[in-house]
Amino acid sequence: MRLLLALAVCFVALQVPHSNQAWAIDDRERLSDPALEERARTLFKEVRCVVCQNQSIDDSEAQIAKDLRIIIREQIQEGKNEEQILGFLTARYGDYVLLEPPFRAGTLLLWLSPLIVLLAGGAIAWTTLRGRPKAEANAPLSAEEQARLDKLMGPDPK
């Protein structure tokens, strides 16, 4: 019982730091207004740390991620909206800085390819199945088939 309790305490202790703050976030960077800080944190998760390939700036300790976090917090405090801030970043780093690529002419193929593959697969399945003759499970055996079956079954053991 005591062991169980100790394990539970360890488990809870391990969970707490993960729960709502990333390791990379330095307390000194935080905004004092929790609502603004929340908006900043939401944006951080959408912005790629440009030197770490597939990490958001929310997760990264890289200097440039830190710089970008400071800039985003500053712009939020200046009253800029999300679109303006992401616009500021894409003007400098291109769409690469966004972890989720935007939906536009150049990314149409990227976004629609799952749908295209699904439709193509469906079309292939449909034409293949349509061309196949319907199985007639309950059709009676022809005389020839009955004769072959009788031969295979052998004489009635009765």
């Binding site: 440009v50 030197v51 200097q63 440039i64 710089d67 970008l68 800039i71 894409t90 003007a91 400098r92 780093y93 291109g94 690469y96 034409t127 061309g131």
Partner: protein, 184 residues
């Protein structure tokens, strides 16, 4: 009609092969760098930046009008702590000798005394060096690290960007031809 679609289905494997082969061929291009991030600045006006001079360097800082006017303006982002910048430096010295080239430096997240020591030791290719102590100008240029070099035409439009150090080969085969093309 059924016969028509059947005929097209026969072509499908060949079409898939051709598409895959084209994809592989593009991937095999030795000029292609899969790590390269396209700069949205290319073919756009260079960011308007004003930067203070580096203390003790006896060179002016950067003013927005310096980015226009010369046949080719080279903007090099460097730092004294950056080892590849040391490797690149002789190529910058050579580039400064090229006619029509104005060399501007942005000293990225650096200490002024180290920057002065770096240029005293290796030579100074720059007409002006801006001191970007907080890395803000670096972000305005969309850099991911130092060194990075931008090539601007006389109207201040970014025509080319080079990420990482310019080695002697790249200077000769890639950079100088481009610089001459921009200069016209």
């Amino acid at each position: 009609m059924r016969k028509g679609t059947k005929g097209l289905l026969f072509l499908l494997p060949s079409l898939i092969f051709v598409a895959a082969a084209a994809g592989f061929l593009l991937g095999l291009d030795p000029e292609r760098d899969p790590g390269a991030i396209p700069s949205p600045l290319v073919d756009h006006a260079a960011p308007e930046i004003t930067l203070p001079p580096v203390a003790g360097l006896n060179l002016p800082g950067i003013e927005p009008e310096m980015l226009r006017g010369a046949p080719v303006t080279v903007v090099n982002l460097w730092a004294s702590w950056c080892a590849p910048c040391r490797i690149e430096h002789p190529q910058l010295m050579a580039l400064a000798e090229e006619p029509g080239v104005r060399m501007l430096g942005i000293d990225y997240r650096d200490r002024a005394d180290s920057a002065v020591r770096f240029l005293t030791e290796l030579g100074n290719p720059f007409e002006a060096v801006g001191f970007d102590v907080k890395g803000r100008a670096g972000i305005d240029w969309g850099i991911t690290g130092v060194p990075e070099t931008f090539f601007l035409d006389s109207e201040g439009r970014v025509r080319h960007r080079h990420t990482g150090p310019i080695d002697a080969d790249t200077l000769k085969n890639n950079i100088l031809p481009r610089v001459r093309e921009i200069a016209g």
